[in-house]
C-alpha cells in the first residue's frame, strides 16, 4: 500500500519510483499547508527530532528546522563546532547520548560518506540524510526533481544537465539517481578534471562544452565549485573556470528554446552563474528553496509514520 519502502532516508539510491511519487504527492499537500494563513499542522506533535550538523549548513538546516516546526515536532539542534566531538567522542556515542534524551528521529549532515548507513545499523532511531560528504544529499535531489515537476508537469522525458564540480558534489549524485528513476535524461558538464571517471556507468551523458550542453537540455542545474573539498588544483584559475563554465545571459539568449535554471545554493555570483541569470525569469532558484520546506515535511511525515509507538 501507500507507504515508503524504506525506514530511513539514507540516499536516493535506496528509493523506488513509487517512493518518490508518494513523497511528491504528499509534498503537494504540504506546499498547500505552508501557503495557508496558519502554516502549521499538529501531526508530529509527539515526535522529537535532533538536527545533527557535523558540517556547515545554512539553507538545509533552516529548511529542515522549519519543516519540523511546521509539523509541530519538538526540535533540538546540534552543531559539531561547539560540541564534545572535538573532545574525541565517537559518532555512535554522541548520537546515543542524544537519543537517550528520548529522540525519535535524527536529521544528520556528516563529512564522511556512509556515516548514515553506519549509524542506521548501530542506533535505534529513524535517520534522514542531510548530506554525507561527496556521497548523497537526498532531500536536495527530491526538491530539485519536485521543482522540475512543478515547472513542467512531469519529470519523465525531461533533459537535465548538471554543470560544474560533479566530482565533489553530493547534489550531483543524488540528482542523477532521482532524475533517472523519474525517467529523465541526465547529462553532466564541466572540466574533465571535475567529472568522475566512473560517471558513464551511471548512464549519464558527458559534455565538456557548456553551450552544447545547454542546446541539448530543458533544465540546467548549476553547481558551486567546492573549494573546501579540493585538495589539489583541478583547473588553472577561478577566472578561467568562469570563462568556460559560468552561465551568462549570452548563453541563454543563444538558445532556440527557453530553459529553466536551477542552483542548489549557496550561489557564487559571477563564478558559476552571473547575477543577471540568477535573478532572471528563467531562474527557479527561490522556488527550489520554498519547495525544500514542503518536500522535507513530506519526508519527515512519511518516515515518522514508521516509528513504533
Amino acid at each position: 500500500m501507500e507507504t515508503l519502502s524504506v525506514n530511513h532516508i539514507l540516499g536516493i539510491k535506496d528509493l523506488t519510483k513509487a517512493d518518490i511519487d508518494l513523497i511528491f504527492s504528499t509534498a503537494d499537500e504540504f506546499k498547500d499547508v505552508i501557503n495557508r494563513p496558519i502554516k502549521k499542522v499538529p501531526t508530529l506533535r509527539d515526535i522529537t527530532i535532533a538536527n545533527l550538523f557535523f558540517e556547515n549548513s545554512t539553507r538545509t538546516k533552516l529548511s529542515f528546522e522549519l519543516a519540523e516546526k511546521r509539523l509541530s515536532a519538538d526540535v533540538i539542534n546540534f552543531a559539531s563546532a561547539s560540541s564534545s566531538v572535538k573532545k574525541g567522542e565517537t559518532l555512535v556515542d554522541t548520537v546515543n547520548n542524544i537519543l537517550s534524551m528520548k529522540v525519535d528521529m535524527v536529521v544528520m549532515r556528516h563529512p564522511n560518506p556512509g556515516a548514515h548507513q553506519f549509524l542506521s545499523r548501530n542506533i535505534d532511531a529513524r535517520i534522514i540524510n542531510a548530506g554525507d560528504g561527496a556521497h548523497e544529499h537526498p532531500t536536495q535531489a527530491l526538491l530539485d526533481a519536485f521543482s522540475i515537476r512543478e515547472n513542467f508537469g512531469e519529470v519523465q522525458g525531461k533533459k537535465v544537465v548538471i554543470v560544474g564540480d560533479i566530482l565533489h558534489s553530493r547534489v550531483a549524485l543524488s540528482n542523477i539517481y532521482a532524475l533517472q528513476k523519474q525517467g529523465a535524461e541526465v547529462m553532466v558538464c564541466g572540466p574533465a578534471t571535475l567529472i568522475p571517471k566512473f560517471i558513464g556507468s551511471l548512464g549519464v551523458k558527458v559534455e565538456h562544452n557548456l553551450q552544447k550542453a545547454l542546446d541539448w537540455c530543458d533544465v540546467a542545474n548549476m553547481l558551486r565549485i567546492q573549494l573546501e573539498r579540493q585538495d589539489s588544483k583541478f583547473f588553472p584559475s577561478i577566472r578561467e573556470y568562469t570563462m568556460q563554465y559560468g552561465l551568462t545571459m549570452r548563453h541563454l539568449n543563444n538558445l532556440k528554446k527557453e530553459i529553466i535554471v536551477m542552483h542548489p545554493g549557496p550561489i557564487n555570483r559571477g563564478v558559476e552563474i552571473t547575477s543577471e541569470v540568477a535573478d532572471s525569469g528563467q531562474s527557479i532558484i527561490l522556488n527550489q528553496v520554498e519547495n525544500g520546506v514542503a518536500v522535507r515535511m513530506a519526508v519527515l511525515y512519511l518516515i515518522a509514520s514508521k516509528i513504533n509507538r
Binding site: T26, E29, V33
Partner: protein, 181 residues
C-alpha cells in the same frame, strides 16, 4: 451475507433535496455562508447539495471548498494503515463566515473533530454547523452532534455503513455491511 440496502436511490435524492431545503430555511440567501466538504466522500455530498441549491435558486452565489483532515487526525502512528493525504481546496477566507461542514457518515465524531481543527487554519468562522448524510447514533467517542441529518441509523460497531455515489460507484445508495462481510 449480502450487504443490506438502507437507503435506495429514490430516498437518496429525496434526502438531498430535503437537506437543501433545510439549509435554505436557516440560511435564506446564503450571504456570508460557505459549504466545506470533508475529503473524501463529504466532497460528493457538498457538490450535490451545491448543485441542488443552485437549481432551486439560479442566482445563488455560494462558495464551496474541500478540506482534507489527514494531518489533523488523532490516529497518526496508531493504525497500520498509512495516512495518505487528499487535496484541500478552499480559495476563500473562512474568517467571519458561517460554515456548513459536510460529511457523509457521522460515526465516532473523530473525523469531525479533526475537520474542525483543520478548518481553523483558514480563519475564525462566526458559526459552524454540521451536516451529515448518515448519523450512526450512540456510537460517538466525542461530544459532537450534527445540525442537519439525512438519516439516523442504529448499528453496532462491527457493522460498516457505506455511502455509494453515482459519480464513483455508478449508483446513489447506502449499504450496511454486517461484521461477516
Amino acid at each position: 451475507m449480502q450487504p443490506r440496502e438502507i437507503i435506495n436511490t429514490i430516498e437518496f435524492n429525496l434526502i438531498i433535496k430535503r437537506l437543501a431545503f433545510e439549509l435554505i430555511e436557516n440560511h435564506t440567501d446564503f450571504e456570508n455562508t460557505v459549504l466545506i466538504g470533508l475529503q473524501s466522500k463529504g466532497v460528493f455530498l457538498a457538490k450535490r447539495l451545491h448543485q441542488v441549491l443552485t437549481e432551486i435558486n439560479p442566482d445563488l452565489n455560494l462558495d464551496i471548498g474541500f478540506l482534507d483532515i489527514t494531518f489533523f487526525r488523532d490516529d497518526f502512528r496508531r493504525t497500520d494503515k498509512p495516512l495518505v493525504a487528499n487535496e484541500t481546496n478552499i480559495d476563500f477566507m473562512v474568517e467571519g463566515k458561517k460554515v456548513i461542514l459536510i460529511d457523509d457518515v457521522l460515526f465516532t465524531g473523530r473525523t469531525i473533530r479533526s475537520g474542525l481543527d483543520a478548518m481553523l487554519a483558514f480563519g475564525r468562522p462566526s458559526l459552524v454547523e454540521l451536516l451529515v448524510f448518515v448519523d450512526r447514533r450512540y456510537k460517538r467517542h466525542l461530544p459532537i452532534q450534527p445540525t442537519y441529518v439525512g438519516k439516523v441509523v442504529d448499528s453496532i460497531t462491527s457493522e460498516k455503513v457505506n455511502v455509494k455515489w453515482q459519480e464513483v460507484e455508478g449508483e446513489d445508495k447506502v449499504l450496511m455491511y454486517s461484521s461477516e462481510n
